[in-house]
Symmetry: C2
Subunit: 347 residues, 2 copies
């Protein structure tokens, strides 16, 4: 049997009321008594039963996820994953809302948080001063804050939920180098925007590995696709026209469809090594057909669940299991694609 508050009272030689005052940091207890109670707690190894505490407290956790309103397949999948994770948390008195904001205008994001009283927020947003301020103000109000997918290392967030994008770029680099097997050539690099933190990191990691280990490959200047297939196709065509044939393309952003379509149209499909990010219906098909050679993926379900766990732990003042919250950099090849998840509940 785990020790309870009554055991603390007996062990410390005080009453239940005093133990309660100490446990919940209520005033009116002498320093000396507080120490006696804490000693007793340490001695008998008491751990608060959070479930029972929350039950008594009638506590409801309010969490908000803020995501860009773009319609990329990755974001769609992420939203679905958050909904699913939230569904699993309702039996644990957590309430999750998703707010979306236009990427161009993070001001809307700031407004969305005004006046709400909530316990935690997971924010996927560009690294702008407004957002940094928003995070700071949330923290000041005692809200747990996690950044999602793209970090804000200079903001006051408690935790970053996402992959190490530098390492992801390095991984892409080594796959590109090894898959090309020593053949020299140029490599095009597609990012969403050269201002996005995750894109910068991926690019840095990619270049570093190429320079260190595959000097025969020449990475070209980043081209910006803004996570849009049309736009990506356009800039890639321009890039190829300017630089001539490439041996590989590293798509660090969304909009991979623009790349495969362009290569297909130019008769280069399967002859250019393509490394892309994020497992979506399209990249899955492209992997299966051989149009893409590898995908660097992050599990959206893991992202969603990890964010909720981290925020919950923060609010409860609990520690997290770092190993459980480390989002893995997954390498997806045709051969290790997971079976398609059936979406939605069966009838």
């Amino acid at each position: 049997m785990r020790p309870t508050v009554n055991d603390i009272a007996r062990e410390a030689g005080v009453s239940l009321a005093t133990v309660d005052r100490v446990l919940n940091a209520r005033p009116g207890v002498r320093e000396k008594t507080i120490r006696a109670v804490n000693d007793a707690i340490a001695r008998i190894g008491y751990v608060r039963d959070v479930a029972a505490a929350n039950l008594a407290r009638q506590r409801v956790y309010r969490f908000v996820f803020a995501l860009p309103d773009a319609g990329s397949q990755f974001l769609l999948a992420l939203r679905a994953a958050i909904d699913e994770a939230a569904q699993g948390m309702i039996s644990e008195r957590s309430e999750v809302r998703i707010v979306t904001y236009p990427l161009r205008d993070p001001h809307v994001l700031v407004e969305a948080f005004a006046g709400r009283n909530l316990d935690g927020a997971a924010i996927m947003a560009p690294e702008t001063p407004e957002v940094r301020d928003l995070i700071l103000r949330l923290k000041e109000k005692g809200v747990a804050v996690a950044t999602l997918v793209s970090d804000q290392p200079h903001a006051a967030r408690d935790h970053f939920v996402g992959i190490d994008n530098l390492a992801a770029g390095r991984t892409a680099g080594v796959l590109m180098g090894r898959f090309l097997g020593g053949r020299p050539g140029k490599v095009a690099v597609v990012v969403s925007s050269i201002l996005a933190r995750d894109m910068v990191d991926r690019r840095l990691g990619f270049d570093a590995v190429l320079a260190e280990r595959f000097p025969e490959l020449e990475p070209l200047a980043s081209i910006e696709g803004h996570d849009d297939a049309e736009q990506t196709a356009r800039v890639l065509r321009a890039c190829l026209a300017e630089n001539g044939p490439v041996a590989g393309v590293y798509v660090a952003a969304a909009g991979t469809r623009g790349v495969t379509a362009t290569l297909e149209a130019m008769g280069l499909a399967g002859r250019v090594t393509v490394i892309a990010h994020d497992l979506t219906p399209h990249t899955r098909l492209a992997l299966e057909s051989g149009a893409i050679d590898a995908v660097i993926a992050q599990d959206v379900g893991h992202l969603a669940r990890s964010a909720l766990r981290v925020l919950r732990a923060r609010v409860d003042g609990r520690d997290i299991l770092p190993a459980q919250e480390r989002i893995r950099i997954e390498i997806m090849l045709r051969e290790n694609l997971p079976p398609v998840a059936d979406s939605g509940p069966s009838p």
Copy 2:
């Protein structure tokens, strides 16, 4: 406010006692009444508060993990991961014991389960008739059973916690083929035993990919290392003596140390592509030094937590989130090694 059992009673026009009987499948309720209650539950969207339920139930879940007593680094890490996961579950009234048994003698394993009353078991064991019987008898006693790492598809287990070893073998095959970049050659394959289910699957997957996509590679007959470095070194030397130089080695088993040591001694380190399994201190070092080119890994923390979640869900009669329980086939390269986890609590 979430609806409670009282709301169900009011909505269904029955008493609390009847709702309770229905919810907990107690006898003595007419079919018609059961339907009325369930309809009311569906109508008001009631979800049982598991925290409160467990509190009232005063239930303690007893789980057992059965593992071979071998001292491989993988098993050590797995045991540590189980301990850590169990630690996290004590606040959810779960109690976990690990029992080990000698691989040669699964009879000991069977005895270890005699007379215990427990709720769930996770079993990592070879596919023998004794073990299959053991699983069947456990199931008959109402114990939830999961197989761990190595499956027992013909046994009555509820769930398999581990990677798809066929796909893992395929992944190893494609990495081998692509890393060798079209160079022809022989490939040695090390397994622990040609009788182990996971080894058979890996071998099948590996061979299939080589045959389909890399006909220039010739896989040699499996050599058995029995998860032991010494033994592995011995059989690998014999294999190389017999077959001449190889382009690659696929180590589907533990005992990778025997392979790197042998290659090192023969002056072949870095000149033979090595694909190994499981991220251990040794394979991590070998990856960093370039002695191994890639490691196919399964996250031991995920294995442990998933097993516990699956067993818990089974006992509670809840569904699982399949996406969360799918153990990923991770591809570890030097470039995406996770930072070393600090072991043990900090002082």
